[in-house]
Symmetry: C2
Subunit: 253 residues, 2 copies
Amino acid sequence: MRRIAVEIAYDGTAYSGWQAQANAVTVEGTLRDAIRRLCGEEALTFGASRTDAGVHALCNVAAWDTESPIPAEKFAPALNSFLPDDIRIIRSWEAGEGFHPRFDAHSKRYEYRIACGSVVNPLRCRYVCGVRETLDVGAMQKGADGFVGIHDFSAFCSAGAQSESKVRTVTKCEVYTDAGEIVIGVEGDGFLYNMIRILAGTLIEMGRGAKPAESMADILESKDRTKAGPTAPPQGLTLVKIWYKTTETSNAN
Amino acid sequence: MRRIAVEIAYDGTAYSGWQAQANAVTVEGTLRDAIRRLCGEEALTFGASRTDAGVHALCNVAAWDTESPIPAEKFAPALNSFLPDDIRIIRSWEAGEGFHPRFDAHSKRYEYRIACGSVVNPLRCRYVCGVRETLDVGAMQKGADGFVGIHDFSAFCSAGAQSESKVRTVTKCEVYTDAGEIVIGVEGDGFLYNMIRILAGTLIEMGRGAKPAESMADILESKDRTKAGPTAPPQGLTLVKIWYKTTETSNAN
């Protein structure tokens, strides 16, 4: 038995999220279908990040065990021939038998993109959250600065989250403009359910002046979900990088 | 009776082209539905460019006559509330009664985008043509230079085209890289059916060395469709600008 790992990019628009489900089209389910067609095997894939419906990824990582004799690096082009254009395997490799895409990842970077103005460019509508007002990027950065560190992020976690400990380490939280859009870039060792979308909703409120930029510490301290902003919509969010401690690193490092 | 004009942007992925059809979802048909819901009128819209299925626009222009008392500039936000996110009215204005979006346009700019490499980023797959090989942009520009001028473009026109004269004026044809993609930008007074997609298919062949970059003049001279390259796929093409001679100019000028 060998363990194959892949780096996988997708446009999440058409999918009910990453995780395989019985009655919905998901990215993982579509990947499993492709493996079945290629190898004739029911693969028990496991992914690094269980992205929500509508959320995108440039480099999620998945792994599974296989009896197939196909050379590891050939899985990428072979699976791509069975996958739709909105899901692409970037590369494939032979992972150590203990490799786990999620538990071995030591940090991840997500980006949340916002387009300000009365009209969102329809060629960008799948990839940004539209906000009517002009936002104060300086105020958003000030709020973002307060998000960095080791904190109990309970205030930024949707109900129904399975994690026991709500303590995470956020190593970077930056707000900048790129191609006319506002980008919130967040890096950390792990993220709670909806944590980045709630962060985005909170920073948008700070950017429009509805919440003081200085209140981030108080919101964290409260551990109260109702003190943070609303959960921003999924389509603005993209998983852009994963770093591994082992030699099975993502090539996006 | 007043004539209302709108500048309209859309992601063409989900539509069977611009032009209203009885049994297909089109951009114009969707616009007419929105006008019906807003004004209760069956609007006989006419557009500047009848883009094909899968082709995008940042600034197509449409006009129609209406009895509605709605202030001209309010049509944009009002129609947007009835339109899907992948179709947006950029602005609306009161056009002169003789204004015709197509016949009054004196030039248009289209851009065709190409992504080279074995894997196309799935977040770009709706907006580029993927080409496996690296292309020689210099050779493509050399070919493009030969496309500029007043020519009979019969070699770059798909069968079934309705135009009688195949003579058009191309004022600019440039090839450059932007955000890691190759862009073919073409401006002219009018374009034959599939003309830019056949140009793109021809320049791609020149870029990969399958056709000499010097052969553009011979291809034009031949007036023979079989001498040009294949018709490149629609999703790489976007209408980006229209210029008008009247005061009803597109704001993208």
